[in-house]
Each structure stands twice: as structure tokens, then as C-alpha cells.
Amino acid sequence: MDKGLSLRDVVILKQGAPLVRVHHDVAPGEVLTVMGPSGVGKSTLLAFVTGTLATDFRAEGAVWLDGHDITQSAPHQRRVGILFQDDLLFPHLSVGANLAFGLPPGGSRAERQARIDAALSEVGLKGFAPRDPSTLSGGQKARVALMRMLLSEPCALLLDEPFSRLDAALRAQVREMVFDRARARALPVLLVTHDADDAAAAGGAIITLGD
């Protein structure tokens, strides 16, 4: 297939022993959920896709994104966005500067500012651009992290238990927001979680590791 994220015969080995085996295609707008207890190698799979696999691991197989083999590409050239369970907003930058960091270069200063303001308004954070990220609530930070990632115009979206730090009420709301936007932009999504609710809300195929 041309569009979408494709994991082809991926095997990740730790000290020679296979840890994770995946062969799956994720079509644009669809979600593939990888489940399993902690320590089973879920995050390791995501690290392989982002190109940041630690040296104790070895991997076989290939990752294709929108018709290109990105297995050997540098992490910053892959156009794969990722959200972790922590918001990981850069603490030295304002909310607006965090978003600007994600925005690809180009355009006038006013145009860039307008895109940042629009992104903030879209998630109900109008006027938050000059704020210090550490003064935001957990839900607000999660929304900024999401918009920062989307502004970088990724071609696929990886989610590493991104909702597990949020309390129950907020969780469903943020989850819905993330999946809505991924669908709207026709992004293939790879979700890693150990929460059955997340998997159900994602509504796509489910792989369970560690069986």
C-alpha cells in the first residue's frame, strides 16, 4: 500500500533473543493498538519507529511510511510524531515558542504567529501563547503537546501511553480530541497502552504482546 504506516516483519531483539515481533499495516486514519504489561517491549517498538532505539537492542525488518522506507532515516527526517505520557513541553520556552518549535520553517513572522494562535484556539487555549508551560494544568499541557506535534505536520502518529497520567474525567476528553484530530488529518496511529479503555476507544486492530 502507498499511504499509511507499515511495519514489515519487524523483530526487535534484546541480547539476541526476540522481544517483539510485528507485521502490520496501519491505513491513514486508522489506529493500531499494541497492548501488554509493562516491560514487554511496547515502548521499544515505538523507539524503533522513531529511530531512537537504544544500543542494547537490535532490530530486523522495515518501517515504511507513505511509500518510503524510513528504516535508515535520521529521527528528525522521518516525519513521525510522538506523544509520551508526560507532556515533555520544553520548560525553557513559552507555550507559543513550544508550538513554534514544532512549526516547520518558512512563512512570515505574522503568519507563523497566526498559525500558533489558531492552533491554541482550536483546543480552547486562546491567549495562552506567552504563558510558562509549568503554570498550566495537566489537561492544558496535554493539549499543547498535541498541537505542538500536529503543527510539525507529521505523516504518522505514535502514542506512548499518553493518557495514563490524566485523571479519569480528563482522560476520555483528551483521548477523543487526539483521535478526532488524527482522523481529520488522515494520520495512521500506533497506540501503545495497557489500558483496555484506550484500546476500545481507539476502535482499530489490537495486537497483544507478551503472550
Binding site: 528528525h76 515533555l88 525553557h92 514544532g102 509549568s134
Partner: protein, 564 residues
């Protein structure tokens, strides 16, 4: 593209900058020690230099001073730090002492030594305060306190400077030792806090701080500036005598100096070996003590004495700086008045211009060297991060190597080598020599915070399309602003405090605040020493203040960086 090729070279370049001069210097010491010094028209090999050295009547005493003061200073300062930490860590008095001692780390050895001399000399501040009411003295008593022939004051001068160093090293090690829970378990089993700490935490902490303890031992055995100020003269300690021979107008005296330098190296290596054997002995005794089940009934007494010793050590430096400040403004001040008759700016008007000139030289050298050290360090750490290099314990010892080889063993050789190849002494060689000592400290200061940086920040930034360079400059370095500035301040303070490299490699022509201040020691003009000593201390302390202030200002609206 060129940068991508430069980065992997930086670790090699760093090692070269750190170890190259040491190896070259040892070679340059080795040749003349065996009679080979073409610059003086001498070619070896011959054993005459050693014959001359062993023929010197002062040698046994000089060697004994080196070993005695060095070992005693190390044992006492280590004991104070371990017992204070054992008895008090986690309490209010400990935090107070910690806050008191931290800034003292930056005070140059020479300034601390002068301060101590001003404090405890027969005509010093303590005698003035106590006289005549308590002592009945109306003139300074005829006692040899400073420069006493046993080197006890010199030992004290080393202790007051090594206590803050060892304490900060210990604090860093404590974080990884899970100390609090161990002590809580021991206390639940009926052990006193101090005994519980010594029996459960000390072995782990000592294993961590072993390299810096060895550095303290090697340094204390071969120190020159403190020995010139506080140590005996007839004979002086071996290292001071080596420097005297080196500065003798008769070039052939360098042969004896080189032989002495090799002896100094042998003494330090021997002491380190004996210390290592002592560790094994202490460990055996400790295991027996642990097996005995003693709960530590004397804990409160020992802990109290340790806290007293630690406080006295900190106060000695503080009061020393205060009395130096008073002397720098003193008009007429007769014994036994506690304070001068009048305060005046005359001393500053007289010595100020000289100190400013020395300050300019000091700052030029320190800033260049500290920046070079910082760039090399960041380059090494970033190369380690990008290329996933694992650093072994053995590589860590490489960092300590230049600090373990006595300065007096390789700096004279470096100077002789430069003389032989006709290289000019001066500022640039002095900078390179400073870098040998600045690099390890800058690296040790920055390595932990740099490695502790959350690598997921890098993954996120890369996922947002930022390349490795952009991540380094726009994310990692700004987030690490505070530890980077602290490492820079450490580098500046180390460079400002350097005496021997400046003196020997500068050929006496590079005048920094430290060389000027130490040169005043023999004259004994307390007003001049006060002015120079204060300037020297300020030059080392101000960067630390800035390292605290600048991040607080730059990140005043960034709560997330206030504690990191």
C-alpha cells in the same frame, strides 16, 4: 558537514589536552633526573642528580613533611566529613553546615591559607581578641605557630580547604547510595544514627568518593602555595624545595630538582599504595565491628565532636577572610587591639592598581581556559550521547589521572622540556597547563547533570523535525544553563587558584593574583596581602554568584527550570 567529523575527535582532543602535558612533563622530568640537560650543556645518563639529592641534609625532613602533612590532612578531613555526614545528614545543623561550606569550595587555597595565618599567628586576630584580658599578653608571644617545623599549621590549612571539597563530593555520592532508607532500617534495629550510617552507608559512599580522596592525598602531599605560606622553611617540604631548585639561576640545579620531582612522584605513589592497603585493613576491622553488633552508645559524643570540628574548619576560613578584609582597610593597628585604630582606603589606593593589572591577566587566562574546558567537555558528552558510548569506570580514572600525578612531578619537567626545545614561556603555555587541571573539574561538574537530562526531550524534538545540532543548541543547552554556568564557574575558580603552573610555565613572567599574593608571603605586609587575597577570593567567588544569578534572571518566568 565538517562539524559531524569534528565531534568524534573531541574526546581524543580532550584526552590529549589533559594527559599530553602530564606525559610530556614526566618525560621532561625523567631526562634531567638522570643527568641529561642539553640546555645546560649536560648529557646523561648519570646518577649524580640523585647523589646530590640524597646528599642534601634536609631531605629526610623534607620528605617526612610531605608524607606527614599530606596523610594527616587527608585522614583528618575525611574523618570530619564522614562523621559529620554520618551523625547529621538530613538534619538542620547539617544543612546549615552544608550552606556554610559550599561557597568555601571556591576560595583559593592561598587565600584560605593567608586567612588562617592572620587568624592564628601569635600576633593574629584570635590572640588580639583574647589579649590582654584572657592571656595577659601586651606583645605577641614568642611562639612559632605559622610555619611551625612540624607542619601542623600547614596541615590545618589543608584541612580547612579539603573539608568543603570532600563534603560536596560526599553529598553527590549520597544521592546514589539510598542512604536514608538504610539508616532508617539500622535505626529500627536499634543502631544509633552515626553507627548505623557507618555500618550501612559508608562502604557504598566510600567506594564512590575513592578517586577524589586519592586526589586529596596526592594534592596535600605535594602542595606548594599553602606550604610556602604556612609550612616550615628550614627545610621546607619537598615540593617547595623542588620549586626553589627550579628557580635557582644555576641551570644545573634543575637536575637535582628533577631527581626530587621523581622522588616526590614515588612518595605519592607509595602513599597511595599504602592508603589502598589501609583501606583493606579498615574494611577488615569494619566487618568485625559490624559482626560484633555494637549499637553505638558513644554516637552523640562522636557526632557532637565531628560537628564541632566541621564548624571550626568552616569558621576558620570565614573569619580568615574577614580579618583579611579588615587588614586591607586597616590604618594603624597595634597589638593587642582587637580592631585597627582607623579604617582607610589608602591600602587599596596603593595596591589596587597592581591588583587590577593582575586581575586582568588572571581573568584573561581563566576565561579562556574555562571556556575551552567547557567546550571540550560539552563536545565529549554530546559525542557520548550521539554515538551511544558507554563510559567505563576505567575511563573515569583517566579524568582523575592529571589530579593524581603531583604537580611538582611533571610541571618542572614541562618547563625544562620547553626550555630544551626553545619554546617560549608565557601566557599561552600557562593556559595549556591550566587546562590540564581545569578540564577534569569542569567535566566532573557537568557530566552528571548532562547525562541526567531527560532523553525523551531529544526524541520529542527529533520527532518535531529538529536535527541533532538544533536539539543541542535550542533544547539541551538552554535547559542545562544552570549546570553549564556552574561548571564554567568551577573552571574559572580552578584556574584563578593555580599557583605552580602559572609560576613554572609562565617562567615568572605571568603575574596573576595568585602568584602575586603568594609572592607577598615572605614579606609579611598584611595590608598588601589583605588586598591581594581579597581580590583573589573575589575573582574565584563572583563567577559562582553569577552562575546562580544568571539562570534565575534568564528563567525568572520559567518555573520548570527553577530547581533543575
Amino acid at each position: 558537514m565538517s562539524r559531524r567529523r569534528l565531534l568524534p575527535l573531541l574526546p581524543a582532543l580532550t584526552l590529549l589536552a589533559m594527559l599530553g602535558p602530564v606525559v610530556a612533563g614526566l618525560w621532561g622530568t625523567f631526562l634531567p633526573a638522570f643527568g641529561h640537560l642539553p640546555a645546560a650543556g649536560l648529557t646523561g645518563p648519570s646518577l649524580d642528580p640523585f647523589r646530590d639529592l640524597f646528599g642534601w641534609a634536609g631531605l629526610p625532613r623534607a620528605a617526612m613533611l610531605s608524607v606527614g602533612t599530606g596523610v594527616l590532612a587527608t585522614v583528618i578531613s575525611l574523618a570530619i566529613v564522614m562523621l559529620v555526614t554520618a551523625g547529621w545528614s538530613g538534619t538542620k545543623p547539617f544543612r546549615a553546615l552544608e550552606r556554610l561550606l559550599s561557597p568555601l569550595l571556591a576560595v583559593p587555597h592561598a587565600a584560605a591559607a593567608f586567612g588562617l595565618a592572620f587568624l592564628i599567628a601569635p600576633s593574629g586576630w584570635l590572640a588580639r581578641i583574647a589579649s590582654p584580658a584572657l592571656t595577659g599578653w601586651d606583645r605577641p608571644p614568642d611562639l612559632l605557630i605559622v610555619q611551625d617545623s612540624w607542619g601542623l599549621t600547614m596541615t590545618a590549612g589543608l584541612i580547612v580547604k579539603e573539608v568543603p571539597f570532600l563534603l560536596l563530593i560526599t553529598l553527590a555520592a549520597l544521592g546514589q547510595a539510598d542512604a536514608q532508607r538504610s539508616v532508617r532500617v539500622a535505626q529500627a534495629l536499634g543502631y544509633g544514627r552515626l553507627t548505623g550510617w557507618l555500618k550501612t552507608v559508608f562502604p557504598r559512599v566510600y567506594a564512590q568518593i575513592r578517586p577524589p580522596v586519592y586526589v586529596v592525598l596526592a594534592y596535600a602531599m605535594s602542595v606548594v602555595d599553602v606550604a610556602v605560606i604556612l609550612g616550615p622553611n628550614t627545610p621546607p617540604s619537598l615540593s617547595v624545595q623542588i620549586v626553589k631548585w627550579m628557580s635557582h639561576p644555576d641551570l644545573s640545579m634543575r637536575l637535582e630538582a628533577a631527581a626530587g620531582a621523581l622522588l616526590q612522584l614515588a612518595l605519592v605513589i607509595g602513599a597511595l599504595v599504602v592508603w589502598r592497603l589501609g583501606e583493606i585493613g579498615v574494611a577488615a576491622l569494619g566487618r568485625r565491628w559490624i559482626a560484633s553488633g555494637a549499637r553505638g552508645r558513644a554516637d552523640p559524643v562522636v557526632a557532637g565532636l565531628a560537628l564541632l570540628a566541621g564548624s571550626v574548619s568552616a569558621l576558620a576560613v570565614f573569619l580568615g577572610l574577614v580579618v583579611m578584609a579588615i587588614w586591607s582597610f586597616a590604618g594603624f593597628w597595634s597589638f593587642p587591639d582587637a580592631l585597627p585604630n582607623d579604617m582607610t582606603f589608602k591600602n587599596w589606593a596603593r595596591f589596587g592598581p597592581g591588583t587590577l593589572k593582575a586581575l586582568g591577566q588572571t581573568a584573561l587566562i581563566a576565561v579562556t581556559v574555562a571556556l575551552a574546558g567547557l567546550i571540550l567537555t560539552i563536545g565529549c558528552l554530546e559525542a557520548e550521547y550521539r554515538h551511544n558510548i558507554r563510559v567505563s569506570q576505567r575511563a573515569v580514572w583517566l579524568l582523575y589521572l592529571p589530579l593524581l600525578i603531583p604537580q611538582t612531578a611533571f610541571l618542572p619537567g614541562l618547563q625544562t622540556l620547553m626550555l630544551n626545545i626553545g619554546a617560549d614561556v608565557g601566557r599561552v603555555p600557562v593556559m595549556l597547563a591550566h587546562l590540564v587541571f581545569v578540564l577534569p573539574y569542569v567535566f566532573l561538574s557537568l557530566a552528571d547533570p548532562f547525562r541526567a537530562w531527560d532523553a525523551r526531550m531529544g526524541v520529542i524534538a527529533a520527532a518535531l523535525g529538529a536535527g541533532p545540532d538544533r536539539i543541542l543548541w535550542r533544547v539541551r543547552l538552554p535547559m542545562l544553563l544552570r549546570p553549564i554556568l556552574t561548571a564554567l564557574a568551577v573552571g574559572l575558580a580552578v584556574s584563578v587558584g593555580q599557583y605552580l603552573p602559572t609560576l613554572l610555565i609562565g617562567g615568572g613572567r605571568v603575574a596573576t593574583l595568585t602568584t602575586e599574593a603568594v609572592a607577598l608571603a615572605s614579606g609579611g605586609d598584611r595590608r598588601a596581602i589583605g588586598v591581594y587575597g581579597l581580590m583573589q577570593t573575589g575573582a574565584a567567588l563572583v563567577p559562582f554568584a553569577l552562575a546562580l544569578l544568571i539562570p534565575a534572571l534568564v528563567w525568572r518566568n520559567r518555573k520548570g527550570l527553577r530547581h533543575g
